[in-house]
Each structure stands twice: as C-alpha cells, then as structure tokens.
Symmetry: C2
Subunit: 133 residues, 2 copies
Amino acid sequence: MIDKYRDLQIKLTPQRLAILGFLENNRSHPSAEDIYRAVLKQFPTMSFATVYNTLEALKSKGNVQELKIDPGKKRYDPDISRHHHLICMKCKNIVDIFKDFDISLSEDLTSGFDIIGNSIEFYGICRSCGSRK
Amino acid sequence: MIDKYRDLQIKLTPQRLAILGFLENNRSHPSAEDIYRAVLKQFPTMSFATVYNTLEALKSKGNVQELKIDPGKKRYDPDISRHHHLICMKCKNIVDIFKDFDISLSEDLTSGFDIIGNSIEFYGICRSCGSRK
DNA sequence: GCAATTGACAGTAATGATTCTAACATGATA
DNA sequence: TATCATGTTAGAATCATTACTGTCAATTGC
C-alpha cells in the first residue's frame, strides 16, 4: 500500500493513506464531505482541512481529478485515465463512460487559445430515479 | 425591448428588464455577481436576491442556461442555442464554440440511464494569459 | 373604483462548501 | 539532540447561494 504511493512524492501520513485507501478503486466520484465522513471512522480527529490539503496535493501530482459536474460542490475522481461522465440530473450519481470521441478543434475555432484538453458530460436520469416516477 | 420578452410569461419589471438588457447579446458568460454589479449602476438598490430570483425565473423558462464550468460559482449563458465552451484555465474566460460533434452513446454504455443531453468543454490557455508567461 | 390576492422587491439571516490561520506534532536531517 | 520543514488540527473567516421577512405595486374579481 505504501509502496504503491511512494512515487507520489508526498509524505505518506496515516491520514493520507486512509484517504488514498478510500479513493482506491472508488467509482463513486465522492465529494470532500463523502471522503471526510468515510475517513472519520478510522480517524475521529480528522478535519476537513486535511481532506482538502490532501486532495490538493494529489491533484497537483495529477493523481486525482476534480470534477466540476456538480454545481455547488466539487467531486473527485481517482481514475485519471481518459474517460467521460454521465450524471443523473436528479440524484447526481455519476457513472464513467469509456469511449473515445473525436472532438478536436480546428485552428480557426480556438480563438487563439492553446488547447490543453476537453471533457464531455452526458446528462440523463438514472434507472432508479426514472422508476421512482 | 418589452415586446421582445413578453413571451417569457414573467412579469417584466424595470429590474428584470435591466438584467435582460445586460444579458442580451452578452458573450461574457457572467456570474451572478457580474450581473449584480452591472445592474447596480441603474438600480442602486438592487439586491442579490433579485438577481438570483430573476435568473431562476429565466432558467426555468429555458431562457438562460447555467454553466457548471467554473468551480465555486455558477455562470450564466443567455445563448441557449446548442454550442460548447472553451475555458481559460488561468483567467476563467469562456468563449463559445459553434461546431457539431457526433457523440451519441450506444445503448450498452448508458448504464440504464435515460440520456437527455450532453455538453463538451475545452480547456486551455487564452492568448493574453499565455503571453503573460 | 375598491378590497383582496399575487408577485416582486430589498434587506438580512442562514447555510454549505471551501480556504485560511495559528498552534502544535511529527519526521527527517545535520 | 537541535533544527527545520511539513502535516495535522480546530476553529475562524470567506464566498456563493438560498431562504426568510416585511413592504409595496400591480392585477383581479366584485
């Protein structure tokens, strides 16, 4: 576990390992609060500051990506491979979409921007929200 | 001006007309505060509540769309035609991209969601931020 | 035309997410 | 061991947003 994250080049404290452990293989795209709540069980003194600090460290090392999908709160995705998201407009559940789309921009559309990347979000209603009415 | 917005089916008060006037042909994707500041010149008693209420009314009538691009604050786009956005990762400037991409999802990728729409964001560095270093 | 209802307004309070701060603890290094 | 950098913590501060309240103006039914 420790070996796995050694190349992150950040100090691996117990709190950070707990956060990393919670994020590992986590497909739920948790918010800072979700992470806080989960890690609180192991570390009752955990504070939000530590969660945010750790997320910031992981983000800057490119080990976690911040999702802007949910207005009002950030959500975090430990899967940094290229993929897209599908979000339920009712319950805000997010699922991953692994498919490549060709959406390159021709020079005349970039307004002089240096393009670095893109992301695609799909919106809809998930099965359980749809069947609830 | 009034005629133009009559079909909105909302009461057209002077404050609302000022907001509508500011939004008309506005390509800056303003935040609630941008709108508040702009309209404050005409209506020194304007309050944030009125800005948010009006935006909510316009949104529910489908006359404005809320952008989730900028984490920490919502931004609003009076252009409701289908288009995408390119955002500067430094200054958060947003420019419109008018181009159609074919990004439909095949049935096996939807996880049972009823798909309603999608949006594409491009990320990069705008000319002035790039030349600043 | 006149009360009653509705909707909008401004101001303010409350909330929720995030960031900041200062004190303390810990670990690595010399 | 002493020093230094970094991480943790609790709480305060901040920012965007939402909710609430009393007031007022426009609109409706009579």
